[in-house]
Symmetry: D2
Subunit: 359 residues, 4 copies
């Protein structure tokens, strides 16, 4: 179950960081959708290493190859198989980490669970795994666009540099104008400076991504266990390095009174119902209410430091891991397209699930 995501719109993914390829199968994609494969590629380019000075310098082109499910650029309703070949998989020397358990990495838990692990570049636990998510999300987005749903995310916090929590204060068209993917130029600069400083110290830093979904019709999400926000939360928490999820006012609700945060309804003269405020984050009783959906995702700092680190190995010996390799000092900029991809997949899945509500 672990490598399949979704109920009707489903991604099954595979691939290790330094194996032959990363890829997946996308099942349940509705038929008859025109797909712009270049747009799929451009989403991949947004998560690609080496795209700017503040992300890892590892250089992979990450070209996606679609193997099935399209005919003359249109989805046929059959599964979409795709792969992204790993370019540098044989180049590295892993002697130093083969037996080591790096702190706050998955080395120890994978080895304990499976009896062995693919130690090359983190194997399956590497964030290269998210390539498959971004490809799948790019398909989902193109389907959602046809029904007027848009998904965007941005870096809203890096360390102590944070935007205001109200996403409506920011222009989504500003997001891609800087390397950190923050819609406010001044804050973006601050964040970049912080990342470069941290990087220079061989350290790493955490942050928050905010995601907004607009145009969602009323009725998506299933009550009880598959509440729309539970699906979104599971999706976000499944991304590497994510440690928290909140939607609407989130943890802020804890200190509030009902009288302050209830969303009153208003009715237009045409009889259309909406809410006057949106503390609920666009979801009530687990079901979308037609307002904007928004949520925040907390990322921990990257576990790999560019410093010598004392740790243990699989033989129970104390060792020192030498600083080595090229890593992100902050995952946030590259996490933005991954958050968007997962959100798009969830919303399309919920949209398709909702179709069976009536005969």
């Amino acid at each position: 179950m672990s490598n399949t995501f979704g109920n009707i719109f489903r991604l099954t993914s595979f691939g290790e960081s330094h194996g032959e390829a990363i890829g997946g199968v996308l099942d349940g994609m509705p038929s008859g959708i025109e797909i712009d494969v270049e747009k799929v590629q451009s989403e991949l380019d947004r998560r690609r290493p080496g795209q700017s000075a503040i992300v890892t310098a590892r250089n992979e082109h990450d070209r996606v190859r679609i193997l099935s499910g399209l005919m003359d650029g249109v989805t046929t309703g059959t599964p979409i198989g795709f792969i992204v070949e790993n370019e540098n998989q044989h180049s590295a020397d892993y002697g130093n980490i083969k037996d080591a358990f790096r702190p706050s990495h998955a080395d120890f838990t994978y080895t304990s669970k499976y009896g062995l692990r693919d130690y090359r570049g983190g194997g399956r636990s590497s964030a290269r795994e998210t390539i498959a998510r971004v490809v799948a999300g790019a398909f989902a987005r193109q389907a959602l666009a046809q029904i007027g749903i848009d998904v965007y995310a941005y870096t809203s916090q890096v360390g102590n540099v944070a935007l205001d929590s109200d996403y409506r204060r920011y222009d989504k068209n500003e997001i891609e104008k800087n390397a950190v993917r923050c819609p406010e130029a001044a804050k973006a600069e601050e964040m970049e400076r912080l990342i470069m400083k941290v990087k220079g110290e061989g350290d790493t830093i955490g942050g928050v991504v905010t995601c907004v979904i607009t145009g969602v019709p009323v009725g998506l999400g299933e009550p009880v266990f598959d509440k729309l926000h539970a699906m979104l939360g599971a999706a976000m928490l499944s991304i590497n390095a994510v440690k928290g999820f909140e939607y609407g006012d989130g943890f802020g609700f804890a200190t509030c009174r009902g009288s302050e945060v209830n969303d009153s309804f208003a009715c237009t003269s045409a009889g259309e119902i909406s809410t006057l405020s949106n503390h609920s984050g666009g979801i009530q009783g687990g079901i979308s209410n037609g307002e904007d959906i928004y949520f925040r995702v907390a990322f921990k700092p990257v576990a790999t430091l560019l410093r010598d680190v004392a740790t243990v190995n699989c033989h129970g010996e104390n060792i020192t891991l030498k600083a080595k390799g090229r890593h992100d000092a902050c995952v946030l900029p590259r996490a933005v397209p991954i958050v968007e991809a997962m959100a798009a997949m969830v919303i399309l899945d919920a949209y398709l699930m909702n179709k069976s509500t009536h005969l």
Copy 2:
């Protein structure tokens, strides 16, 4: 899919607040486990209305009746069917809310999605639905106890009254000693006072539940989409009124550097590996690492106020809802056993899933 939870250990639930009964089917319960049905009942008693002055006065006895799957008190491996009859289902008059859409309730979204809704006491969207979760969780806990796993939760915040974030500072044996289920007596009193004050004003208040799981072996959780914390997060976010989830240092990671929060490994002379700190919250790469698992769950204030409320109805008219009924001013005390139940279900499910890792 919406009314089934879990992969191998699965609860499928049913029931409306004022229908005939709430109940469920528990599938995948391992065979040969001795079940103390009185303990199941006592978990239900912990979530029961009317148990103290700070919770709703609605009086239901909520007696569980086990219909299958046990023989002489031992699980047989067949599904456990159970029901809790609703006692007062025909007593109320719903004339005033039949057509109304209460703010921040699910009335509007249910009606929009399904074309109709059971308006009696909130129908399926009522938190009475969680009865089934508590029963299922009580079975899970008894299985987990046999393998040394313990789950406990407590109210760690009500409004601005908050405990320290370090769960190790508190004694779990103190939790049940006060009505608010807070392990520190002084804070518990403060919380109770706050709840009574808010209640007196016809208002409601949010808060946070902290949950701790001890004795979890290394290896539970599946990488990528079914990471252990993603399963826990989905479980918690599926509980009524939950708006946020974080584990380990959670959102606190956003302001931290890797060098501050990486969990270094240590090795005993016997070769046993553990971590010196536990910022990770007992899970690395989505897999339990043998340390305590802990997480925090944010609850919004109850949407139903004991005040007259202006809103709209299904005919698009502005109306005023009269204050009426008996409701919790704060769900936290009764949420504690629900959080524990969901956590227990996830851990048992992950434990059973992990059994197929090796041939």
Copy 3:
């Protein structure tokens, strides 16, 4: 997974033969469907023991109680919980079969798998389990009726007494006119005589049920693994005592040439496409083609004989089981509504699955 059936329209069932109750949860039922609960009961009455001289004399009234999911007789989109209480669960003395492994029963396999078994009346392996299927099927049928789909089945063979394989030769309105549920009166009489003869000898006899589904629109069924006939086959093979399934010409295809059994297409002047013959049984490439779907299901003779039987017990001793109890000499008459129920569930499920084919 074992006690849940279906993908979107899902039955999760529970209950032992002599436990408190048999029941289930029906999830994914579309909202807004008017349900005639008396029709649900009348389907149950068709599978009820004691309904005629040729079936078991065990007398249970098998009254269904719907616990949720309906409001004023209309489905609300929430799960339908239901139970049928077992009336005679405490009356019997099982001393003689408690430790015995009855030949061709599930006693040995259940005990080996689970370490214990509920020996009272066969426990979960009893065909009383099919009560839940019949209830669920009755809901499915009422939904299908709204879209013009009809499901009917009949006993087409008992021992060597067999109808012609062409279902179009028989009138479905004749089926319920005799106890054996065979649409040809003369054959029905022969079958009944055979059953009474076999019964008189303390023996049992097998047979075949034929099922026909009319009005199915083109497009139901998912290619590759969830082919419509694979779903139907799995459904039928999950019924107690079923040993074979074939659709269209079935095993008869083995001796045929393509030129004999290909179904040629014809086109009306209005452009409507149909086939001139229907060897395919209404399904091509796993997808319904708009023609009648028909299939045959083979049942083995009931394993319980009214004779003394030599066997072994759980202590590895040779024992003799005394003839005892009231059992069907032939399951076919009571199997007919069960086959129909499973077929209706599959078709409704496939219908709902198909809704997500397009955006």
Copy 4:
């Protein structure tokens, strides 16, 4: 759901006949299993076109490329991605079948369901799809071999040329000694002659494959809906051209009495329990009983004839399809490894599912 097979051991497949590649993702493969990739390839070679005079002359080498999940030839517990590139995908001219609906093919149903179809070589409905099954089955077999389970199948009937129904009369080592995969040399020759004759006439012929599984421990299969034979039946019925499935005595039970076909138990002095006969086919109550599992699968004749065929096209016009291409006159020889593959996948899945029966 349609392109994923299995519960714990799961294959998700993709690919069209003349697309870029056929492939899949194998999830749930236990870790630590040594895989002989050459054996995987040799299973593929058994289903390969062009392997003998009696199968299609289309020449594809069908080389499998494993993209993930192995490390030094050992499974790591992560998903196994694989592809088989299609070699001749751009060579053909499909002008004649682009708009045609070939009789007893999936052209009409695919087009109706999806609104379009990949007409190149049958697209997804082509039996080339089974390449993914054979690869997955080859992995399953290597895991099963470690626990002493063996799966083999053979052609037991082509047209009217049929073997005896008792598989124990045949030596499995004889199966691969002839092109038709029939363990009796004389019958094999007869079958081959029949196939060549039918082929010479531009016609096709159906048949039956028998499959035997030995060494299965007691306890596999889940009662009620996931009975072991229901899983096997669904697996077989999902294979292209399959129209019937029976296990044990199958449809033969219909004419039998219980006293004739009940399988009596015997007990060795060591207390080991087995059955004296095996009419049940190794499964009782849906659970394996330790005896050999055997079943029969009916295949219809290939729908594509080497004759001119009158049919209709998507514009509702009557047309004549010219005889063209290279096709099997009988799928049986190539179906044998596919049946084995599906059987192996089911048994491994059931084996892994059974691991969670006890804590």
